[in-house]
């Protein structure tokens, strides 16, 4: 066989074929080489600019530098809202070498819920390779240590520090200051992009929302060179962020605390204003809640509890609660009577304990009738009517005055309209008039309704803030400053807006305020119980607001009525009488009567007036008025 093959072999032909094939191979070879060279020429010369840009985009990252949110302090400089470093657990999926294993291991080390993992998986698609994806927020010191110890079996697991809003006083300022929360889908669409670059939180309610522009600050930016893992190798350029403006409130932690303790979880609200500048000293709605829960998203369970609680803790009673003011409007109506010349300080009326309008046989009852079986006295003057809260006197005065004149006068106290306080969600209340009723109820005004308004009932509604503002106008004898929660922004004081009442005879003021003084300081006064141990003179007025209607001959019996149907207790006061530094309004829902509200006001006023360091006027404001 071998011989055969050799016989057939033709070395020359083989050589010729080989040479021919080698030439063909060389031609193909040259073409292939040409393709390569052309390709590289194309990439490196023709499209060089495109790829050079792409390469720079790769390595150079523009990172937003979120500003520090402005701090919020009380009038004494105590921190109410601050920024705490918080640790975020994130995972660089590409470096884990098996995400499931790492998650399993992490589960054994830290508390990871299925919700955490689900949220994590949702964040993944929008993250570029080698960038950390957040897995869990607010990692505790202990968890951090445990992760650090186990870092060798947790490749790709990182812990980053972020500044997170914190409210060290928890529920004390929840309604006064509000809270921030994570920027949600809807906000993301409407927010301007630049200022919120790198910021994940935004003011949701209260001062945090109202002063969002001030608190936010200005985002900075830095250009850094990073590697493919996103690690920063070098800083190329940096514009530092401008921190948000700090707010100093006119609120005072001690007064707030006194209000909270005095209300002790009962449903109610306290608003105290410094009449000299309109600064809100205390604004507390009870029960309250912990705003810290809302910062990084509250759990469904916790939110459900708050939302479904019969005490509605999320409801800001101080600003949104619209209550019948009850007898607390009597001083203002009395003043109107004097000012309009309808009565004098000496005018008296007969008080059998009930009132009947001419040509109407309906009996309008005085609240004392049930207790004493008779009226306050045979004849009652304005002083007594205020001190003892005589309804009959005000029924008569209201009838003579008519609702529209009453409306026109009380309007000067800002009742029935927004006070313009510097926070969110304020309600305007209702100051009724015949025009108002026609417009809102479509019916004409009935004279009997005027009588109800005369004692702060009927259609009349006011928020505790409005009552406090009204009281501070009484305290100043003719003017007030519109309430403001924030005293200064970054050291610049807020200039309060002035609320001016028409010119009223000083003697009229004296008459009304003496009546208010008698409420506490006269034995027969409705809040005389407060006089015990009182170190200052206080002018005040009690009030009771009916929650359910009582028929004209029915009796209101506290014991028979369900707790939630009991009357609201109200109390407004200012002190010290001659140079007032605090005007306060308190409501205790279903407190039965004003006796539930009086001790609360006393506690707050004590905290303000009994403390020598307090009560100093805010600089540059009081004197300007």
């Amino acid at each position: 066989m071998a011989a055969d093959r050799n016989l057939l072999k033709d070395p020359h032909r083989e050589g010729r074929i080989f040479a021919e094939r080698l030439v063909i191979a060389l031609v193909v070879f040259t073409v292939m080489l040409g393709v390569i060279v052309i390709r590289y020429y194309h990439l490196q010369i023709v499209d060089h600019a495109i790829y050079a840009t792409q390469s720079d985009q790769n390595r150079l990252q523009t990172q937003p530098l979120p500003p520090r949110r402005g701090l919020i302090r009380d009038r004494a400089g105590r921190l109410i809202a601050e920024n705490e470093p918080s640790f975020v657990l994130s995972v660089v999926v590409e470096r884990t070498g098996g995400l499931d294993t790492i998650l399993e291991r992490l589960k054994r080390i830290v508390d990871l819920t299925d919700d955490d993992i689900e949220a994590f998986q949702k964040r993944r698609p929008s993250t570029r390779p080698y960038a950390p994806v957040p897995l869990k927020f607010r990692i505790s010191e202990e968890d951090r240590a445990r992760i650090a110890v186990n870092s060798h079996i947790l490749p790709g697991v990182e812990i980053e520090a972020q500044l997170i809003r914190a409210y060290p006083l928890a529920d004390l300022f929840a309604h006064a200051v509000g809270y921030v929360g994570r920027i949600n889908e809807r906000e993301l669409q409407t927010l301007p992009e630049g200022p919120y670059e790198g910021t994940f939180h935004i003011g949701k309610t209260g001062i945090e929302k109202y002063y969002e522009n001030v608190l936010l600050g200005q985002a900075g930016v830095q250009t850094v060179e990073t590697d493919a893992r996103g690690r920063i190798m070098r800083l190329v350029e940096k514009t530092p962020p401008v921190p948000g403006g700090d707010l100093v409130l006119s609120l005072d932690v001690d007064l707030q605390l006194a209000a909270a303790q005095a209300l002790d979880g009962k449903r109610g609200a306290v608003v105290a204003i410094d009449p000299r500048d309109g600064g809100v000293l205390a604004l507390y709605s009870s029960p309250s809640f912990d705003p810290n829960d809302f910062v990084n998203g509250i759990s469904y369970q916790k939110y459900g509890e708050l939302r479904d609680s019969p005490d509605v803790p999320l409801f800001n009673r101080a600003l949104q609660g619209q209550y019948p003011p009850g007898s607390t409007v009597k001083p203002a109506i009395g003043l109107a009577g004097l000012h309009l010349g309808l009565v004098t300080a000496k005018t008296t009326i007969a008080d059998p304990g009930w009132y009947m309008m001419p040509g109407d046989d309906r009996r309008y009852r005085d609240w004392v009738l049930r207790i004493r079986g008779t009226g306050h006295a045979d004849r009652v003057d304005l002083h007594m009517a205020i001190a003892e809260s005589c309804d009959v006197y005000f029924y008569d005065l209201a009838r003579v005055m008519t609702v529209d004149r009453m409306h026109d006068f009380l309007k000067h106290f800002n009742l029935g309209s927004y006070t313009g306080v510097d926070t969110t969600n304020e309600r305007p209340g209702v100051l009724p008039s015949s025009e108002w009723k026609l417009k809102n109820r479509g019916k004409p005004w009935y004279p009997g309704e005027t009588l109800s308004v005369g004692i702060g009932q009927g259609y009349m509604l006011a928020t505790p803030l409005q009552l406090a503002l009204m009281t501070s106008a009484l305290a100043n004898r003719g003017y007030a400053y519109k309430p403001s929660l924030v005293a200064s922004v970054d050291g610049v004081p807020n200039q309060p807006e002035r609320l001016q009442l028409p010119e009223i005879e000083p003697s009229h003021w004296r008459t009304v305020i003496e009546g208010m003084e008698a409420v506490v300081h006269q034995r027969s006064g409705t809040a005389h119980a407060m006089a015990k141990g009182l170190k200052y003179r206080v002018a005040s007025k009690t009030g009771t607001a009916q929650v359910i209607g009582i028929g004209q001959d029915e009796e209101y019996d506290e014991d028979d009525i369900a707790e939630r149907h009991r009357n609201h207790g109200l109390f407004v006061a200012f002190a010290p009488i001659e140079a007032p530094t605090i005007a306060i309004a308190v409501i205790v829902e279903n407190g039965g009567g004003s006796s539930a509200a009086v001790p609360v006001a006393r506690a707050v006023m004590d905290a303000w007036l009994a403390n020598p360091g307090k009560g100093a006027a805010r600089e540059g404001v009081a004197r300007s008025g």
Binding site: E14, I17, F29, I45, Y51
Partner: protein, 378 residues
């Protein structure tokens, strides 16, 4: 060029036995010189790709040293001995390929290595040399151009190892092994009719190959090649980053050790398969052209040696080794530049990696032996 031609060693028949150092070492000085310059250039580029890690450079230097020693040894073996050794080498290679499938070790779902007492080697690398050597041995004995029977036998010889390598799975090496065998057949004068038929068959079988034979990741690579932007962060990442590296190099490059794409780890596999992107980024097109010229020089010298070989066997082996070497270069530079699918083919003598260096230099050792062969086998 004239100088180059004038100083070319004369062909076998008129070769005058001068006791120069080169003939004593049985080395071709031009080829040897080209390889040394290439290895040195490769080390320089690698030094930047590994960001100056001296351990990696030491390892690569040792591989190169071993490679050059293997080359020197291979050059000493007379050509006819390769012809006799080839079938045994082929047999041993096939056995170890079978062994790999049974007891092999590997990574990422592929079994490619055999572990022999702490030393790992890749049997498919042996086949890169054994297949052309064996087919050349088979065909050189026979009358050429080969008749259908011989063609069939040859196809079997190159197809068998290719299938086993494909099963590992390692499509790239399987194709390269088959290609190195095919070159021998082609150079031996395979009829154009067959070539045309084969091409038709390949085109026809593309669809079943795509649908039934190729694995998902292989299909993915082809799809990614066609449109890397479709999967920017996944399979397309490598191609986009390597094209960015190459393109951003421009004409003169970003400077040695200044390539941001490679130093900042955007470029994957920057010290192995994608090392040409490091070179292109740091030295620019002019660096790429120098490398291409270097490869061109080595290939032309290889063709010259094959053209002047004194035996059919030598001719076939020398030309096949040279062409295969060029195919490596072409496939590697093509895939990194995004015109070929990404298959694991290193850039010859530049990419880090021991086995490929040793195999390549062993091949050049055989080329040296052929260049020094004065004997007419037939």
């Amino acid at each position: 060029m004239a100088e180059y031609l004038r100083r070319m060693p004369l062909s076998g028949e008129t070769f005058q036995s001068r006791s120069t150092l080169w003939s004593f070492l049985k080395l071709d000085p031009w080829l040897f010189g080209g390889l040394v310059v290439l290895a040195g250039f490769g080390l320089t580029v690698l030094n930047s790709a590994v960001d100056g890690s001296s351990a990696a450079i030491q390892r690569q230097s040792i591989y190169l040293l071993i490679g050059f020693i293997v080359m020197l040894v291979a050059a000493q073996i007379p050509v006819y001995r390769y012809a006799r050794l080839a079938p045994w080498m082929y047999l041993a290679g096939m056995l170890s390929l079978i062994a790999v499938l049974v007891i092999g070790v590997g990574a990422k779902g592929a079994q490619r290595w055999l572990a022999l007492g702490g030393f790992r080697f890749q049997p498919s690398e042996i086949m890169k040399l054994a297949v052309p050597l064996t087919i050349a041995w088979y065909l050189a004995k026979r009358s050429l151009p080969p008749n259908p029977k011989y063609v069939a036998a040859t196809l079997f010889l190159m197809g068998l190892p290719a299938v086993f390598i494909f099963l590992q799975p390692d499509l790239g090496t399987a194709i390269l092994v088959a290609v190195s065998g095919f070159f021998v057949l082609f150079l031996a004068g395979l009829s154009w009719r067959y070539i045309a038929t084969a091409l038709t068959l390949v085109l026809v079988s593309l669809w079943p190959l795509w649908s039934f034979v190729m694995k998902d990741y292989q299909r993915q690579r082809v799809l990614t090649l066609l449109n890397p932007e479709s999967d920017r962060l996944g399979a397309g990442w490598n191609i986009i980053q390597s094209k960015t590296a190459i393109g951003s190099g421009g004409w003169s490059g970003k400077g040695y050790m200044q390539g941001t794409q490679s130093l900042l780890d955007f470029l994957p596999e920057s010290n192995t398969d994608f090392i040409i992107a490091v070179l292109a980024e740091e030295y620019g097109l002019h660096g790429v052209l120098w490398l291409v010229l270097l490869y061109l020089f080595i290939c032309l010298r290889g063709f010259w040696i094959s053209y002047n070989a004194s035996s059919t066997y030598g001719r076939l082996v020398a030309a096949s080794i040279t062409l295969t070497f060029f195919v490596y270069v072409f496939v590697n530079m093509g895939m990194v530049a995004g015109i070929l699918p990404v298959v694991g083919v290193p850039l010859p003598l530049v990419s880090a990696g021991g086995t490929s260096i040793v195999t390549l230099l062993a091949g050049f050792g055989i080329l040296m032996a052929i260049s020094q062969d004065k004997r007419q086998v037939n």
